[in-house]
């Protein structure tokens, strides 16, 4: 057994997490590096090169900015959407280089730019609206049309802990893919699960009928690269971790929270196909 394979040993039983190419779906630019960058780096070492697909990075124009989006921009200190998008994509490219993975950016706009669906934080972190549910199918279709796609691909999606509608939609896309016999694994949404541990418990309870038993990946050998990839999102880290002055310490503590003797660990839940009616 190689060192890389040893890293994939589940706590309790050895297993392979992804047999073919791993396709990591990221609702927004930094989600995958933050949530499962260690596993991405491990899979990159093993090959074939994983790909991180950012779903909601679509370009928009000024006329889609409603009052809520303008308020959000004010909080984030955004003035020029185009230069911000360029910067975010440059950060994403740098993080992918560190993790040794490919990137794809789909063209679907972020929730705050999608019409009048999300006009408050309550709506942004609430139920997915019925009118938006078909977006999950669209995402699943576009993922299966990627040049990197093959029948042996394994897809990683956010659990949707924290209930951001974009994360929930990508999880639902994962359910569609699971229904099409694709192997799908859900990852913990970081930093939501760090800042609000209850969000994970709540989400797991909601999804209890469609998730399998969690699998654990030891990421000690790639943890430094994960941290470096997260730091590549230089405009985001101070915002996401505004509650701490020790980001590395916070991420290390989080990574080791399940079993300190194992070192840093990432956790994934198999997404089960819906039971036939």
């Amino acid at each position: 057994m190689t060192d890389t394979h040893r890293n994939f040993a589940c706590v309790g039983q050895p297993c392979e997490l992804a047999a073919g190419r791993a396709v990591f779906l990221s609702s927004h630019y930094d989600d995958v590096a933050l949530s499962c960058g260690g596993t991405v780096a491990l899979l990159a070492e093993r090959g074939p090169e994983p790909v991180i697909v950012t779903i909601f990075g679509g370009e928009v124009t000024d006329e889609v900015l409603n009052q809520f989006a303008r308020w959000k921009h004010g909080r984030w200190g955004l003035t020029d959407m185009d230069s911000v998008r360029e910067q975010r994509q440059a950060e994403d490219t740098a993080a992918a280089h560190i993790l040794r993975t490919g990137t794809r950016w789909l063209g679907i706009p972020d929730a705050i730019y999608r019409g009048e669906h999300h006009l408050s934080d309550d709506e942004l972190y609430g139920e997915v609206q019925a009118a938006e549910l078909p977006l999950a199918q669209l995402i699943a279709d576009e993922v299966q049309a990627l040049p990197e796609w093959s029948d042996t691909s394994t897809v990683f999606v956010p659990l949707g802990a924290g209930r951001h509608v974009d994360h929930q939609l990508v999880f639902l896309a994962g359910r569609h893919l699971a229904d099409r016999s694709v192997q799908v694994l859900a990852y913990e949404d970081c930093p939501y699960v760090i800042h609000t541990p209850l969000a994970l418990e709540t989400r797991l309870a909601e999804l209890s009928d469609c998730l399998g038993a969690p699998r654990y990946v030891k990421i000690a050998s790639t943890f430094e690269r994960k941290l470096a990839a997260i730091e590549a999102y230089a405009t985001q880290v101070p915002v996401l971790f505004r509650f701490t002055s020790d980001v590395r310490g916070e991420l290390t503590k989080f990574g080791q929270r399940m079993a300190p003797e194992l070192g840093a660990v990432e956790r994934f839940w198999p997404v089960l196909p819906q039971a036939p009616i």
Binding site: L106, R114, G115, L138, E142
Partner: protein, 111 residues
């Protein structure tokens, strides 16, 4: 994806597209539209009548073209999108930015 930019005079042109407008050709479409604008065709109508399929990346390329045209003081309109394109436009809410015209002539009107 085949693209033919047909000048109509006074900085107006029709970009005729044939094939699928998707992630694979989105970068090329962006570049072609930017080039057309750079060449002085700042009022563009994209004729989607012969486009069988559009994905979100394809729409992104059109948005990029729209921005290029606007920065040059012009505009970009889309004409004759098929049912599949209309569904994707509506789902992504990009129909608010790229309002579909029923014909190329309708889209050209007022340029």
């Amino acid at each position: 994806m085949d693209i033919k930019v047909v000048p109509k005079g006074d900085g107006i042109a029709v970009a005729e597209m044939v094939g699928d407008l998707n992630l694979l050709c989105a970068a090329d479409v962006r570049a072609r539209l930017a080039t057309a604008v750079g060449d002085g065709q700042r009022h563009l109508v994209v004729d989607l009548g012969q486009v069988d399929f559009i994905d979100s990346s394809g729409l992104g390329a059109l948005i990029s073209g729209l921005k290029s045209a606007r920065q040059a003081g012009g505009d970009l309109r889309i004409a004759r999108p098929g049912e599949q394109a209309r569904v994707v436009l509506k789902l992504t809410t990009l129909d608010r930015v790229l309002r579909p015209y029923e014909s190329v002539e309708d889209a050209l009107e007022g340029f």
